[in-house]
């Protein structure tokens, strides 16, 4: 056991070291700050979000391409990007409507494949836009979604075309004016910043007939024509990577194209745009050294920005969090723990159980580190979205399981912790598939104090309640398995009651705190809103169980059944009230969740009552045989 603790501690330590290796000095291209969804995030997160939206995954899997590389390739080689199969279509009806064929296993299409179909369906799409979102059927909302994705993609592809080396001039006077060698490739941005007398000269050209143009005038005319062609991309404003000017109060960042709408470009903006241009060029030429030089100058540009300072350490933390994928790794350790526990049951050496225990501890540490980093990055308490409630309930249940395992040392805690930790991770991944999980909050939630107190307490209540229900399941199973081991049954029952009291404490206190928050911000302590009622139901149910036990209405078996059924109440309060789509708390998405809720309810009813009556009948048999 001692050795194993050493191992687990060393792994934890190495994780922490790995994390602290994040030095603020190094600045990668994936760290480039960008404003999206109301906050500043690393370009890496932006790339992953786009990849998720178009492709359905956070990387381009079939090409084994990371999101950031895919995005940068789009910028440097737009034409190739338009032929890359990155749009995931899930519905054959939509595919057919776009005039494409539905292949059986690979439903990925490129921009160039989709665009003609979209163009044909524009009247239909316009019609769908007239409808309210709730009135659209599956086909209609997916068609609109693919339309929006294709448009967004087009915008992203073009968003750095002003920085690409697309033109060359051979006339030596013109080249000198533009500060380049004759024949050297230059970008739109470069021409615009050295345009000088270019446009005055062009006035002279327009007044002359084309046949009288000199060679250099012809070249200027061609250049102007090309500039105009490129500037048709200036709609592409998706990439908000340029910090605003110091006089700007809106806090809105700019996209490179916006800089060329005739406004005054400030020094830091100029520095950033030039560094980005040289970075793209270096990437084009595959010159790693120049890429690094360009990036460090990019960082200098960001630092010289006088407005709200860019938090580089948060950017690199978020990028690290993206890469480390802590929750997936934590899941791996939970599953491993479960398998090891199974092995220890089958062939019985204690060592497997101990390794399983360590595996859960490691999973728990990764899980906690992930939550902690999210808190640091957003500088807010751990729970503010439905997704975060799931992740947090997971960590709470695993923590209590670990404590129970530490006290009991019989594998019960490992069993509960590994199963519930894994299940909740899966539920969490379902929510994470909707997009960026680090979202900004609506005004009423924008209060760190209440998020930290009410929300955290109530979610602790959900977690501990589910824990009590799980122990309830175990109690009933053990009652069937070892009906005569009264010491074991009694100790499980006591644990269950203890966890129920803890759960009651958190749900009761959390619900009242919620009332106090409501009193502070809406002026009433209690308004019978669905979410409030859901939380109240959990409290009432647990109060009922505690008093049924007290008054002798519920013996241990019935109490266990009651706590199993309490799981249904918890899940309904947690996810179910969002289905009613009324009330002030409808902050979560509800689509698709109804089926899962019904399945869960049926499962709990069937297993709960099933094991309860099975245990009862077995008990009767044993009493009769005793007689």
């Amino acid at each position: 056991m001692k050795n194993l603790s050493v191992i687990s501690i060393s792994i934890i330590a190495s994780t922490i070291m790995l994390y602290s290796s994040l030095s603020a000095e190094s600045f990668f291209v994936s760290d480039i700050p960008i404003q999206e969804g109301g906050r500043i995030k690393p370009l890496d997160s932006f790339a992953r979000n786009q990849s998720l939206a178009f492709y359905g995954k956070r990387k381009i899997k079939h090409e084994n391409l990371s999101a950031i590389d895919w995005l940068l390739n789009l910028f440097t080689h737009p034409e190739k990007g338009l032929d890359q199969k990155v749009f995931n279509l899930r519905n054959p009806e939509v595919v057919n409507a776009l005039g494409l064929t539905w292949t059986n296993n690979f439903h990925k299409y490129s921009y160039n494949e989709l665009f003609p179909g979209i163009e044909k369906q524009l009247p239909l799409i316009r019609e769908i836009f007239e409808k309210k979102e709730v009135d659209r059927d599956v086909f209609e909302s997916q068609l609109v979604e693919i339309y929006q994705n294709v448009m967004k993609f087009r915008e992203i592809v073009s968003s750095l075309s002003c920085l690409l080396p697309l033109f060359s001039v051979y006339d030596s006077d013109l080249a000198t004016n533009l500060h380049v060698e004759p024949g050297q490739l230059i970008s739109y941005a470069h021409v615009m910043s050295h345009r000088g007398s270019l446009f005055e000269t062009s006035q002279g050209i327009i007044t002359k007939p084309e046949s009288e143009w000199s060679v250099s005038e012809k070249e200027i005319a061609l250049l102007l024509y090309n500039l105009q062609q490129t500037s048709s991309d200036d709609f592409a404003k998706a990439l908000k990577i340029i910090p605003p000017s110091k006089n700007d109060s809106s806090g809105l960042w700019l996209s490179p194209w916006e800089l060329f709408d005739g406004r005054l470009i400030e020094p830091h903006q100029d520095k950033i745009i030039k560094s980005l241009e040289s970075y793209l060029l270096a990437r084009f030429e595959n010159n790693i050294e120049n890429q690094n030089i360009a990036l460090s100058s990019y960082k200098t540009g960001l630092i010289s920005h006088v407005g709200k300072k860019v938090d580089f350490s948060n950017l690199s933390k978020e990028r690290w969090l993206n890469e480390a994928d802590l929750f997936t790794n934590s899941l791996v350790f939970y599953l491993l723990g479960f398998i090891l526990l199974g092995i220890s049951w089958m062939i019985k050496p204690v060592v497997f159980k101990n390794v399983a225990f360590c595996s859960i501890i490691i999973g728990f540490c990764l899980h906690t580190l992930g939550i902690y980093l999210r808190m640091v990055i957003m500088s807010r308490p751990p729970i503010s979205t439905l997704y975060e409630t799931v992740i947090f309930v997971g960590v709470v249940i695993v923590l209590i399981s670990l404590i129970i395992e530490y006290i009991r040392k019989d594998g019960l805690g490992i069993f509960i912790g590994s199963i519930s930790g894994s299940l909740l991770h899966y539920v969490g991944f379902g929510y994470a598939a909707d997009g960026d999980t680090l979202e900004m909050l609506v005004a009423v939630l924008n209060s760190n104090f209440w998020l930290a107190t009410h929300v955290t307490t109530i979610i602790l209540g959900y977690g501990t309640s589910l824990m009590a229900g799980l122990i309830g399941h175990i109690y009933l199973i053990e009652k069937i398995r070892v009906p005569k081991d009264s010491v074991r049954l009694k100790s499980i029952y006591n644990n269950m009651f203890g966890v129920t009291l803890i759960a009651l404490f958190f749900t009761l206190f959390g619900t009242i705190l919620g009332g106090i928050w409501a009193d502070q911000s809406w002026g009433r302590f209690w308004g019978w809103d669905p979410k409030e009622n859901g939380a109240l139901l959990i409290v009432l149910w647990q109060l009922m169980m505690v008093h049924m036990r007290l008054s002798g209405l519920a013996k241990p078996d019935k109490f266990a059944l009651g706590m199993v059924l309490n799981n249904i109440v918890v899940i309904m309060a947690w996810f179910g009230v969002n289905l009613l789509s009324i009330g002030l708390h409808s902050y979560g998405f509800a689509s698709g969740i109804a089926v899962n809720l019904i399945l869960f309810t049926l499962f709990e009813i069937v297993t709960g009552f099933g094991t309860y009556y099975w245990a009862k009948s077995k008990n009767k048999v044993s009493i009769r045989s005793n007689n």
Binding site: G37, V442, S447, L501, L508, F509, I512, G534, L540, G583
Partner: protein
């Protein structure tokens, strides 16, 4: 006998049964919000003493909670409760008593409404969210208006409303929770006056969004023995109020939300909405106001989660209206609640009690299993 009653009233079984009924109420009252809206559901199931389902009456939320309070209080008289081991339990239940007492006070004494103020203007009235009133305003005097106000509780069909200083009587013919106006296609009867000459006031289904309900009223004016006697109709929020002339006196009639007049006024200087940059997600709302009392203005900023408390009233940033021309109007919720401190105190008491109880009982519950 007395002992028996106390035993019954203080029994945990009674508590369990009340809880079961309360849970049923909560579930039904929550699900029915989908169909009838929050306010109607709250009135029917939670703020009621009884409600009927078909012909059968059932106890409503107030009865159940009152029963639970009686149960809790009588439990305090139990002999075997007062032991040092049960200190936590005692404290928790005392906290519970406080919570329920506070709920009772809030239910009976609190009032809430809204205050709608445009930028640059001021207001000293709070409109109730739901209760309406019929205001008859005598505007004949140049120097002052005289108000005769009849509350919604009086709007029962056939009820006569009269006042010694009013030259006429009013008989309620119909009151509608939610009404709509439809143009008349055929000529109206000769007894109709005002709006009803051209429109028909029709009852429609209550909207589940309580804000969308427009109450309507039809009533008869009689006893003036002039042309003005006849049947009138009013709808909440109508743009042109109804007026009548009787013996040279001019009256305006209006169906409005119940108004409470405050001893101070609030002037909206500026309403501000801040979005998260580049998104449609609101980061904060705030109203920059002047609190005017005795003609002395005091600047105050009301924000989300940061209300203004003054003379027993609390004003919250509740909502806002933006007109197409860009003028902003703030909607403040105004609440008067004497019971508001009870939850704060009782939550602390209950938490302390539960923690104490856990400290006493946990070591036994988590003993290492003996093998």
């Amino acid at each position: 006998m007395g002992n028996k009653i106390i035993k019954l009233l203080s029994s945990p079984k009674l508590f369990v049964y009340s809880l079961v009924w309360l849970m049923i109420l909560v579930v039904v009252g929550t699900v029915s919000q989908r169909d009838i809206g929050l306010y109607a559901s709250q009135l029917k199931f939670f703020s009621s003493y009884f409600f009927s389902f078909g012909p059968i009456p059932f106890p409503g939320g107030r009865i159940v909670l009152a029963l639970m309070l009686v149960n809790l209080v009588s439990m305090m008289f139990k002999q075997n409760l007062w032991k040092i081991k049960k200190i936590g339990v005692i404290i928790v239940h005392l906290g519970g008593v406080m919570l329920l007492v506070g709920a009772g006070m809030t239910a009976i004494f609190s009032s809430e409404g809204s205050m709608v103020i445009e930028e640059g203007s001021k207001s000293n009235t709070v409109d109730d969210y739901n209760i309406t009133e019929l205001a008859i305003i005598d505007i004949s005097d140049v120097n002052y208006d005289q108000y005769f106000v009849f509350g919604q509780a009086l709007f029962k069909n056939g009820n006569n409303l009269m006042h010694e200083k009013l030259d006429f009587d009013i008989t309620i013919l119909d009151y509608m929770d939610n009404a709509t106006l439809e143009p008349l296609t055929s000529p109206s009867g000769i007894q109709f006056r005002g709006m009803l000459k051209n429109f028909i006031l029709k009852k429609i289904k209550r909207d589940k969004d309580d804000m969308k309900n427009r109450p309507g009223i039809i009533y008869q004016v009689s006893g003036s023995f002039t042309e003005s006697d006849g049947i009138y109709g009013l709808i909440f929020g109508q743009s042109v109020p109804a007026t009548i002339n009787i013996d040279g006196r001019q009256y305006v009639m209006n169906l409005q939300k119940k108004k409470t007049y405050l001893p101070f006024a609030i002037e909206l200087k500026d309403f501000k909405k801040v979005m998260h940059p580049g998104t449609e997600v609101a980061k904060s709302y705030s109203s920059n106001i002047n609190l005017i009392e005795n003609n002395i203005p005091r600047p105050v900023l009301i924000e989300m989660n940061k209300p203004l408390r003054h003379e027993g009233y609390t004003f919250y940033q509740a909502s806002f209206i933006e007109s197409p021309s860009g003028e902003e109007t703030t909607v403040l919720a105004a609440v008067k609640n004497y019971g508001r401190l009870f939850p704060y105190i009782s939550s602390i008491i209950m938490s302390i009690g539960l923690l104490l109880h856990m400290l006493v009982s946990m070591p036994n519950l988590f003993k290492k299993s003996i093998k």
